[in-house]
Amino acid sequence: MKPRPFDYARPDTVDEAVELLAEHGDDARILAGGQSLLPMLNLRLIEAGLLIDISRVAALDAIIDLGDTIEIGAAVTQNELMAWPQLAQKLPLLAAALPFVGHFQTRNKGTVCGSVAHADPSSEIPLALAVCGGAVVLRSKRGSRVLAAEAFQQDMLTTARAPDELIAAVRFPVIEGKGTAFNEVARRHGDFAIIAVAAIADRRGAVQLGVGGMVGRPAVRSLTADGAAAAISAWAEELEGFDDAHASPAMRRDILRKLGPRVIAEAIRCAA
């Protein structure tokens, strides 16, 4: 299908973009790669009065090494990040997760921040951000603020972004001296996951485990490698799992119980 009519603006600077957001608020949508937004517009699941195309704002098209954190600007595509030479060394969890994000062709245009903005409960980048303890940089005419991933994504397709705020960047902490692993179960490669699991483990067996696809946002828990299977099983009951056309809650719990320990074992192997 074709989208309903909308106005279009292509600002050259962040200031112009947040000025438009201040003026139009909820009626405006940010267009970066458009790989989540345009399908929804084409299917007329959503409509917008104004699209603010930030894909040519040069200041947002940067991967900045801040030392203990890597800041990824809102115009950086998923494939640009995958091609970043230091990705495997500094952000190994993202390096493992990105190949699961959509397809080669959509990663060429889809942005890292766009996935975070869309906030699908089973999408890979928000899960990686939550497990790493990353953050989201929001800019508005009022100023800027940095929100922890935990505080940012609130529920299915729902975030703490105010209507006049632009997601200018996301920040991933550099992971060093730890093992990481990512895996997921999907109907077909490139689909949104039914269940996605990410783990960060240190050499002593302390694990940060995250799961997408159980509840409305990524769920994260600290546990130890010893007795992980029992802890994951109890956690699965606690989370319950949502019901949709792809999987029942029982199936989601079952996948988490099987995939969780496997991902932890791989992260521990990497840590060793």
Partner: protein
Amino acid sequence: MRRITRDQRPRVSLTLNGRKLAAAAEPRTLLSDFLRQSLGATGTHVGCEHGICGACTVLIDGVAVRSCLTLAVQAEGRAVTTVEALAAPGGALNPLQQAFQNHHALQCGFCTPGILMSFTDFLARNPHPTEPEIRDVLSGHLCRCTGYTGIVNAVKEVAGGGA
């Protein structure tokens, strides 16, 4: 800053297969429709219009993207390459197209333009891919004639047996 209201149809210019062209477009006009209906480049096919099937894949500045998930105005000033650019002016197929013919990698041909453009980008970046890498790129396309094995074999031929 470029601004267009919904009732305006300004001229949008871009370079299509080396030629500078322009036509009127609304903000909501998809690049796929702009190419086919306004610029007459009907080699690009439109299947699902929500980014799943891959038939509409074209290159923008050399990078393979879904033209149905791109607004025409987003391609303004960019270099767009479509399947029409692949064969020589006299009609001789390029090596990738010839390999598709050799391996019966197309049946109805509806998905073929998009697949050719995806691999044009991918092979430029990675000239000797492994078979799993080829299959990963191909996973971004749907072929309803189930011709995947022939397509993989065709790409392997062009990739110099690197798989």
